[in-house]
C-alpha cells in the first residue's frame, strides 16, 4: 500500500526523503518563500518512513526541473524528486549536487568581493562531491563548514 500521509495530488512534484526538520529549509533554498507559486504546497514533517523519520514536500501542478532542485542536495543529499501525473509517479530522480552553487552558500571570507555591494550572487564551484568540497568562484576560498554558510 502506498504511504500517503497527506492528500494525494493529481499532478505535481513530491520531494521525498528530506532529513527530518529540513522541509522548510528546502523550500527556502528553492526560493518558494520569495516568490510563492500559485499552487498548493503541503509539507509533512517527521513522517515515519521505512528508514526512520523524514520530511516530505508536495507541490501541486508544478513539475520542478531536476536541475533547479539539485540545489537542495546540500542539505538533503538523499532526497528524491518524484514527478506525479494523474496520481502516479512517472519520474523519480535522486538529487545530485550541481556543478555550481549560485546564491545558496555565502562566502565566509569577509574581504571577498561577493560579500560587498556588487550586483552578484554568491557563487561556488563544486570541486568534489564525496567528500563535498566547494570553492568560491570569486576569492577561491574553500569554506570549512558548508552547512553553516547556507544563505
Amino acid at each position: 500500500m502506498k504511504e500517503l500521509r497527506v492528500q494525494p495530488i493529481k499532478d505535481g512534484t513530491v520531494i521525498d526523503h528530506i532529513p527530518p526538520g529540513n522541509a522548510l529549509k528546502v523550500l527556502h533554498i528553492l526560493g518558494m518563500e520569495r516568490n510563492l507559486p500559485e499552487s498548493v504546497i503541503s509539507i509533512a514533517i517527521n513522517v515515519k518512513g521505512k528508514r526512520g523519520k523524514k520530511d516530505i514536500v508536495k507541490i501541486e501542478n508544478r513539475e520542478l526541473d531536476t536541475q533547479e532542485v539539485n540545489k537542495i542536495a546540500l542539505i538533503a543529499p538523499n532526497a528524491t524528486i518524484n514527478i506525479i501525473r494523474n496520481y502516479e509517479v512517472v519520474e523519480k530522480h535522486r538529487v545530485k549536487v550541481p556543478d555550481e552553487l549560485v546564491g545558496i552558500v555565502k562566502c565566509g571570507n569577509p574581504n571577498c568581493i561577493s560579500n560587498g555591494r556588487e550586483p552578484v550572487e554568491s557563487r561556488f564551484i563544486v570541486k568534489s562531491r564525496e567528500p563535498l568540497r566547494i570553492k568560491c568562484y570569486y576569492c577561491e576560498r574553500e569554506p570549512e563548514d558548508i552547512s553553516s554558510q547556507i544563505i
Binding site: N109, N111, C112, I113, S114, G116, R117, E118, P119, V120, C136, Y137, Y138, C139, E140, R141
Partner: protein
C-alpha cells in the same frame, strides 16, 4: 596561441607554453622598454588604469608600458577621486570605464574583484592585484627575471624567503615555478609558513619542497626570492625585530651562497636586504622592477591582439 580578448586574472589561467610565449614577446619588447627604440604598436588604443587601491610600481609600469607602445592611458590612481565615493558599485565603474577604452588594468583591495570585473566587461581585464588574491603580472615578471638572469627558468633551485603566509606574490610564484619543475625551499618564521594547500599543490605537481626556518642552508640555491615581513603580523614589536632580523640578507650571508646567486625582491623592501648588496651583481631586484615594463607591454599587445 591566441591571447586576443583574454583576461589576465590568475597565473593559473596560463599553461606553461603560454607563459613562455608571453616571456618571448616581452624579450622582443626590451629595446622599446629601455627607450632605445620607438614604437607606435598600440597607437590609437586606450588603456584604463583603475586603481581602487593605490600602488606605485604596478601602476607606473603599466602606464609606462602602454605609453612606450604609443598608446593612451586614462584612469585614476586612488578611489577618492571617483564616483565610488558616492556609492557606485565596482561593476558600474567597470561598465562605465569599458565604454571609453580597449583594455582595463585594475587593482582592488578585495579578493575576487578582478574575476567579477571580467564578468561585467567585454574588454580584457588585467588584474594588477586583488587583495590577498592574485597578482599574475608580478608572477610573470618574476619568471621573466629568472629567465633573463639565469638564461632559462628550468633547472634552477629557488628559495622563497620571508612572509610566505600572507605574501600573495609567493603563492602564485610557487605554483608557477612548480609548473616549470623547479625544486624549492620555503624559508620562513614558523608563524609565517607557506599555506599547506600551496605546499601540497606543488608536491602534487612533482617538485621537491623543503620547509625550513633559517637561512643556514642556502648554499646550493640559484635564486633567493626575498619578501617583506610586515610589522603588523606581530603583536609584539620586539618579537618582530627578532624575527625580521634573522631573515635578513646581507654580505655575510652572501658569502655562504653560490657565487652567482640571484637575489630578487618584489619591493618595496624595508630591512630584508641590506643596501650594501645593491651594488653587487647578485642584486637583481631593480632589474626585476624594470622587467615589469616589457612583460606588461607584452601582455597589453597580446590581449589587444596586435601581437600574436
Amino acid at each position: 596561441m591566441n591571447f586576443k580578448g583574454r583576461d589576465v586574472i590568475s597565473i593559473k589561467d596560463f599553461s606553461r607554453e603560454e607563459i613562455l610565449h608571453v616571456l618571448d614577446v616581452a624579450e622582443r619588447m626590451l629595446p622599446i622598454a629601455e627607450g632605445k627604440e620607438k614604437s607606435d604598436l598600440l597607437h590609437g588604443y586606450i588603456m584604463a588604469s583603475l586603481f581602487f587601491e593605490p600602488s606605485t610600481r604596478t601602476r607606473l609600469s603599466f602606464e609606462a608600458a602602454m605609453k612606450r607602445l604609443g598608446g593612451n592611458v586614462i584612469g585614476f590612481a586612488r578611489p577618492g577621486t571617483t564616483s565610488l565615493k558616492k556609492g557606485e558599485t565596482m561593476a558600474d565603474t567597470i561598465r562605465t570605464a569599458e565604454s571609453y577604452c580597449d583594455v582595463i588594468v585594475m587593482r582592488h583591495p578585495q579578493e575576487g574583484s578582478a574575476r567579477l570585473a571580467a564578468d561585467f566587461a567585454s574588454v580584457p581585464i588585467i588584474n594588477g592585484g586583488d587583495g590577498a588574491g592574485h597578482h599574475p603580472t608580478q608572477c610573470l615578471l618574476d619568471l621573466f627575471t629568472i629567465k633573463r638572469e639565469k638564461g632559462k627558468i628550468e633547472g634552477n633551485s629557488v628559495a622563497l624567503i620571508g612572509d610566505l603566509k600572507y605574501g600573495r606574490t609567493v603563492h602564485s610564484l610557487a605554483y608557477a615555478l612548480a609548473l616549470f619543475g623547479i625544486d624549492m625551499k620555503f624559508i620562513s618564521p614558523p608563524e609565517l609558513q607557506m599555506p599547506k594547500e600551496v605546499v601540497e599543490e606543488c608536491r602534487e605537481m612533482g617538485v621537491e619542497i623543503n620547509i625550513e626556518n633559517s637561512l643556514d642552508d642556502i648554499g646550493d640555491m640559484d635564486v633567493l626570492y626575498v619578501t617583506r615581513i610586515q610589522k603588523e603580523r606581530f603583536p609584539d614589536p620586539e618579537e618582530y625585530s627578532r624575527v625580521a632580523g634573522s631573515y635578513r640578507i646581507d654580505r655575510k650571508l652572501l658569502e655562504k651562497a653560490k657565487k652567482d646567486v640571484t637575489i630578487m625582491h618584489p619591493l618595496p623592501r624595508v630591512d630584508e636586504i641590506s643596501p650594501e648588496l645593491d651594488s653587487t651583481p647578485n642584486a637583481a631586484y631593480f632589474r626585476q622592477t624594470f622587467n615589469g615594463v616589457p612583460v606588461r607591454m607584452a601582455l597589453l599587445a597580446l590581449v589587444l591582439g596586435v601581437v600574436e
